[in-house]
Symmetry: C2
């Protein structure tokens, strides 16, 4: 590609970004439908997903990652503990800290609900060569890092205006 | 790729799908933070986004796409109309139908909130060649179609069990 992108190049860039946004909207709606199917609140499901990635963390850490207020996190963990999705326990490395331990793996209904999406995505991925997969995987990883950065900066912005 | 994928191939597939899931979680959290920044409910923002894609549609159509119950849609459109994000009007092609018209473009704060993400994504996309962009764009389009299919099927499942 030349250093002065042509109109066609710009169109291609905008097309990809617009499709990414469309994928984002559908992802949000999908999660909402999964939550409804499991009888969970939207935000509760996101936190279950975060814990699945991070492993046991404190309420404060969960608040930072999700952008939810600490008070909302307490209520959320109460709800999730009640239905057996997480449990609170003392941090074995520091008894003064309480960590939230995901019990995701015990919930067959959760993995069952996600399974059709997982299967369909594996099928789609299987249609690509190893080299193509690497390119796409790197792109998704970078897009994910951008998202994290954007969440942090929106969260920080709100902290500024509310103080 | 051979017709019998090796363990390495399977690892690559699982890695991509797992990264897609991570991107999904971050997208959901991002949207939640955007909603909080704009003082909107989560679901309300999703519907604004849907309307931005579809253009004017009826409450029934919006209910089908979002998976939200018709009653929730009525309350949602009331809230969005109050803050000037949408307006209800009679369908010019069929006066008996009421359609919801997005007024998204009037909301500078909405586009302003999304702008940093858009800029960062365009920058990321600019690092790829035209050919690579086409490959990635096609993948994102297909992943998006899978999501739509999954939303429809979760929605249909719930319809079955609740009847």
């Amino acid at each position: 590609m030349s250093s002065h992108p042509s109109d066609t190049d710009n169109e291609k860039l905008e097309q990809l970004v617009s499709l990414m946004r469309g994928l984002g909207t559908r992802t949000v709606l999908y999660q909402q439908n999964v939550a409804a199917s499991l009888g969970l609140y939207d935000n509760d499901l996101k936190s279950v997903d975060i814990l699945r990635e991070t492993g046991p963390i404190t309420a404060g850490e969960l608040s930072k990652i999700t952008g939810l207020a600490t008070g909302s996190i307490t209520a959320l963990v109460d709800r999730l503990e009640k239905v057996g999705y997480v449990r609170r326990q003392n941090d074995p490395h520091d008894r003064r800290r309480v960590i939230i331990v995901p019990q995701y793996e015990h919930k067959e209904e959760v993995s069952g609900t996600y399974r059709p999406l997982h299967t369909a995505m594996i099928e789609l991925a299987s249609t690509y060569s190893g080299e193509e997969l690497e390119l796409i995987t790197a792109f998704i990883g970078k897009a994910s890092a951008i998202m994290e950065q954007q969440i942090r900066s929106l969260h920080a912005e709100r902290g500024k205006t509310s103080s």
